[in-house]
Every structure is written in C-alpha cells, then in structure tokens.
Symmetry: C2
Amino acid sequence: MHEIEPHRTFVTEGDPADYLFNITEGTVKVYKLLPDGRQQITGFLSAGDFLGLSFQENYGCSAEAVTQVRFCQFPRRKLSQLLTDFPEMERRLLGIASNELAAAQDQMLLLGRKTARERVASFLLMLSRRAVRAGREIDPVILPMTRADIADYLGLTVETVSRTFTQLKKAGVVELHEAGIVHLPDPAALEELGGGI
Amino acid sequence: MHEIEPHRTFVTEGDPADYLFNITEGTVKVYKLLPDGRQQITGFLSAGDFLGLSFQENYGCSAEAVTQVRFCQFPRRKLSQLLTDFPEMERRLLGIASNELAAAQDQMLLLGRKTARERVASFLLMLSRRAVRAGREIDPVILPMTRADIADYLGLTVETVSRTFTQLKKAGVVELHEAGIVHLPDPAALEELGGGI
DNA sequence: CGAGCGATTGAACGCTCTCAAAGTGAGTGG
DNA sequence: CCACTCACTTTGAGAGCGTTCAATCGCTCG
C-alpha cells in the first residue's frame, strides 16, 4: 500500500510499464501530453479502479494524484504467472478492459461531437452515475478536481468550463457549493442538456 | 464467412451482443450516434481486426461496411467455453483490448486538443503506419472512406476536412490521386504538422 | 444527356478561445 | 486579528478557427 500527495505524478507516459496499480482511495487523473504542453485527460480514477492495464512495453499515459491517494501496486513481471495461477482473474481483467473501452468510446463521442454545454452536463451525469455505482448517493456530486482538469478532460478551456457552469446555474439545473460539492436539482433536465446521452 | 455490401449496417448499438466478429477483408466503420443524428466514428477496422469485443450485454457501437466486406462471426454464448478450452486465446484478447484502448486514448488526445490540420495529418500518418503493420507499403495510403466519414472520425465537418486536404496539398506534403490514393512525399514534415505525435 | 452523389470552394456567422482583469478563499506571517 | 500572498475561479471583450449555408465542379451511372 502506497500513499501520495496531491499533484504528485507517479506514472509517466513512455516509461517501462513495470507495475499495475489499484486505487484504493482518492482521485487520480490519467492524461496524455502534446510536445507543446497541451494536455488531454483520458480519465479520472477513484477507489477500485485499475491503472496500467496495458500489455504494451511502456505506459500509454501519465497519471497524477488529484487528491491524497492510496494505491496498491503489483509488478507486471509477476502478472503473467498470476494470471496462469488464477485464470478467473484474466476474465475479470478482460471485463475491466472492455468497460474502459466502452467509456473511451463515449468520451470520443463527447469530444468529437458535443457542444460545451453538453460536455459539462454529460460530465456531471457521469460523476453522478459513478457515485451511485460506488454506493454513494446520486446527489450531491463531488468535484475533487480543478476547473483546469475538467477543461482538459472535456477538451475545453478553463474559461469555457467556468462560463458553462454559470449558465447551468442560471438555468437552475446545478447548484455550486463550497469544496466542489455540486447539487443537481433536476437530473432529467440536465440529461436533456447532455445531448440525450 | 459472411460478405456484405458497402453502406450495410450489420451491428447496431444497443442490440444484444450475440456475436464476435473478425474482419477478413474490406473496411468497416464503427460509430456512435446522438439522438439528433450527429455521428462519431470511433474507429475504422480492416482485415484482421476484431469487432464486438465487449463483455457488456449489448453492443456499445454500431458498425457499417465502408467497402465490400467479408467477416467471420462467432456466437458470444460459445465464447466462454472457447476461452476455457483455449486459455491462450484469452490472453490474446486481453492484448487486443489493450491495444484498442491505447488507440482510443490517442484518439481522445486528437479530438480534445488537436487543430484541424493536426487531426488530418495524424489521420494520414495513422493509416500509413497501419498499412506498414499490415505488410503493405508505407506509401501510398488508401482512403476507402468518404470525406464525410473522415470528418465524423476526426470530429470535424466535411468542408473543413476538404479544405485541410487542399492546404496540405498546397504545402506539398500530400498528393491526392484518383480512388482515394494518397501519396505522402514528406512524412517527416507531415509528422511535424501532426503535432509531434 | 440528365440525375445524383461526393468533393471542393466561397462567404458569413458563431461558438469557443485568447488575453486581460477582477473576485474569492485558504494559508501565512506580522 | 488583519494584511498579504497565492492559487483557483469568474467575468469581460475581442479575435479566430471551424461551422453553416450555398453554389459549383467532377464523376458515375442509367
């Protein structure tokens, strides 16, 4: 079990993929960079999620702690043996990879075809659904990440994200409170704004 | 072995995921739709690629033949047994899923953070690399799909794709010939335009 | 030859970005 | 307790990239 501080990068894209991680607490952002510094966050991970689920030689993305984070790490070189010893583990990994792929496809639709308002609405609904899946309430939603991180996840700028929150607030579908707590009074209306998906 | 005509949709998002497909010839587009008709193509498949590699109950995307297509299909209900009989198959599927995931992450970076010119350049380079991987020449590249499909893959409009091709043509890094044949005289310069990745 | 589809080009618009400044809140030190 | 700093957020104004709408071109096919 390891513990790291916010803003600490613990996986770097291109480095040898020596470990498989399992997040047990906190929020992690997984991202890719362009040479000029532009950043695309490909996902936010939280308790229970796996990281480094790649069968390439090197990590495909970097990962940074958004909040205080705890995780377990497992040496990849032992993975092959582990999978042979516990075949059912392999099927489970395949299921996880398949879910990640489905999420990635949803995100491609968002990035390629949705407007700023639809992106932010979809993002809030995704967090809400994820909270339910994790056994918490559907509402309120907690945003541990900054506006800049949200922007880099949604393919927007900080300013656009901020303005869009203001819009949604005025429309009465979100209420912003302190510490990233967001109340969603009308999920159905938000769903409507999210482009129907 | 099945054979289908161009423009024929043979997998519909949301339908029960009864089959796993293996493309043996031709090009397939895999896509998602928004209720109002906006389309995002999540990938183009060609010979050797798998489709329906999902462990959800239903297909996550639709699939349509771009050219004449041949494929094998395998009932998903028999998959579980197959994997138990041939454990090495499972590891192979995991590898394939992992590669797809890496490609999806690259595409997210493209859709979220690259300019139109970078998107088109990256697209051409991806096709070129894929051709090499498939044992063909690095050049010329073949575009079996329409400008509209390219646009729906790159998160742009047809007009922008067309204008960008014209730009790249004038810059001397691509030459457009008949039947979707594209020559890339200066891959290094194209790589530069592609945002370095 | 005419119809029809895909590709290209032009002109104008608009959503989002860029640049800039002000507001907010937590943490620090006097 | 208050002033100050610093990071994050919000708001404003203007610009730009890509979109929208529209027209033309080129090719294939009946």
